[in-house]
């Protein structure tokens, strides 16, 4: 039998472990990655001429980061690795990629999408000012470039990344003005039984919060963001919030790192025509998968945070599981014992994920309270008022129709940063549940292509 054509999209934790498992079974997968180097976002590698050791770069996760990088280094001559390559469409059982401005179509027997996640964002008035970054961005600035995003930084949002990045900034010597969390502390207490599914991670998290407080940085929970104050020329100047008792408080800063946990990058799964379902706990649409990552489309598999956000450790497990699903479906042998072991591990990761969703909820109610003049779409500076107008004045109660009328979701981020919040604004304005608003359809190309791109000549 000819070698099956197996393509992995993404060289982060799930993509690397997936490739490793396939190679061990005698296959030679193609690994496509948009980044210059492997590691994904979480274990992003610094440039060659940087010298910080693993412990400094990745903290408690240094061992895992190093192991992942070394595993991939060892795989390099056993896989076809295409870095700096964008997978931009899936059509007719072919993955369309662009590399060095040349587009080609790659047929596959099995496609494993390990596309990772981006920050999940809830707008606040003033978030378009220069100096507002996503939490992930603030971490990349530090990890990959040894920079802080400003001189005085406010961390705003919710989720474990909020505390992780804030504490990484403090350790690196940056000046953190405050950590402002929209989730009330009580939610964390209520989520404890689920969070105990991963006691060491829970302990790490508690340690981070304690460390931030020890450094003298104010940590406020249960806050409501009111406004990022600034000026269109010079950018961010301060963050105004209401604390849990309802008092307004302002924090001076020249940078804001903002995020509400993560959202999976599901555009490729969407273009492959995978079925999605609405998840009530996190109020978002997720691809339907079985416990090993098989999507509803034969030959298309999902793994890692691009499927659902379970974090880096679970992404490694998910990559292995998806690889085993591929092998099983190709009628190749897999170890049933290993499969059962991985499934069991993944089940506690899933329980922990539910705990995080309970502890750090997506603050949907903020969308309803956004003032009309607040920008929802940063790409094209479209306000909440304009979006509400197409809902109430033009009858657009569905996400794609509202997008067509208002252009929220049509800018160059293609809805990555406004899509979830936009749906909440529409739902509230229309008085319908958010799942009824639907979800923005994925569109090819999933990221902008240069007009200079040409098709590969056979």
């Amino acid at each position: 039998m000819a070698q099956p054509r197996v393509i992995i999209v993404g060289a982060g934790p799930s993509g690397v472990r997936c490739a490793e498992t396939l190679v061990a079974a005698g296959l030679r997968p193609t690994v496509i990655d948009e980044n210059r180097r492997d590691g994904g976002q979480i274990y992003r590698r610094q440039p060659d001429n940087f010298t910080r050791p693993y412990a400094k770069l990745y903290g408690t996760e240094a061992g895992r980061a190093q192991s992942l990088h070394e595993s991939f280094d060892a795989l390099r001559d056993k896989v076809d690795y295409l870095p700096e390559t964008l997978a931009w469409n899936i059509f007719d059982n072919k993955l369309h990629v662009v590399r060095n401005e040349v587009s080609s179509a790659m047929p596959y027997d099995a496609l494993i999408i390990c596309s990772g996640a981006t920050d999940r964002l809830m707008p606040v008035k003033g978030w378009h000012y220069a100096g507002t970054y996503s939490l992930g961005a603030s971490q990349i600035a530090l990890k990959a470039q040894a920079c802080a995003i400003g001189r005085q930084i406010v961390f705003l949002g919710t989720g474990p990344l909020l505390y992780l990045v804030a504490s990484q900034y403090i350790k690196a010597g940056a000046n953190v003005a405050a950590v402002l969390d929209t989730s009330p502390l009580m939610r964390r207490v209520m989520a404890l039984p689920k969070l105990l599914a991963r006691p060491s991670v829970l302990l790490n998290g508690l340690g981070l919060v304690a460390g931030i407080k020890r450094a003298g940085v104010p940590v406020l929970t249960g806050i409501t963001p009111v406004e990022i104050k600034g000026e269109s020329e010079s950018g961010v100047q301060s963050v105004l919030i209401r604390d849990s008792r309802g008092n307004e408080r302002s924090f001076q800063c020249d940078a804001v790192a903002m995020g509400y946990h993560l959202r999976p990058e599901t555009q490729l799964a969407d273009l492959a025509r995978c079925a999605f379902r609405f998840e009530q706990e996190t109020r978002q649409w997720l691809p339907e998968v079985d416990e090993d990552g098989r999507s509803s489309v034969p030959g298309v598999y999902l793994a890692g945070d691009g499927m659902r956000v379970l974090g880096a450790d679970a992404a490694e497990i998910g990559g292995r599981l998806a690889a085993m699903a591929v092998l099983t479906d190709l009628r190749l042998k897999v170890s049933d014992e290993e499969l059962q072991g991985l499934r069991a591990e993944q089940a506690s990761m899933e329980r922990f994920r539910q705990g995080l969703a309970q502890a750090f909820p997506w603050p949907a109610e903020q969308a309803a309270q956004l003032p009309d003049e607040a920008i929802v779409c940063r790409c094209e500076a479209i306000t909440a008022g304009e979006l509400r107008h197409v809902v109430c004045g033009m009858g657009a109660q569905e996400a794609n129709r509202a997008k067509a009328f208002s252009r929220v979701g049509m800018g160059r981020c293609q809805g990555r940063y406004c899509g979830h919040a936009g749906a909440e604004v529409i739902a509230h304005a229309a008085g319908v549940p958010v799942e009824q608003v639907g979800r923005l359809r994925g569109q090819a190309p999933v990221k902008p292509l240069s007009i200079a791109v040409r098709e590969e000549q056979e």
Partner: protein, 102 residues
């Protein structure tokens, strides 16, 4: 203050020179174009929609907020481009802006 980002480590790298809006400035080998720019100035570009200066947002090639213009009229995504000696970047919007006049 005339720059937005601050360097916390890795500062003994070899310098590279680039030109921002006609001024020659220094960055370090291994910087992304975005980091090279924001260690010298406070923004990357002007919004086409007239809501002010922009300085990028996601740093992972997802938001497309950091596209900058070169003096030759080429566009580069600053967060995924590595800075090169002699690059010439213009942070002013070279076309008309499209403000919301409603």
């Amino acid at each position: 203050m005339n720059h937005r980002f601050t360097r916390l480590a890795e500062t003994s790298r070899i310098p590279v020179r680039l030109v921002i809006d006609g001024h020659t400035v220094e960055a370090l080998v291994g910087d992304t174009l975005m980091v090279a720019l924001l260690n010298n100035v406070r923004h990357l570009r002007e919004s086409e929609f007239d809501d002010g200066k922009r300085a990028g947002f996601c740093l992972m090639g997802a938001c497309q907020d950091c596209w900058v213009w070169t003096a030759d009229g080429e566009r580069l995504r600053a967060c995924t481009t590595v800075v090169g000696e002699g690059m010439h970047i213009v942070t002013r919007q070279p076309e008309a802006t499209w403000p919301n006049l409603a």
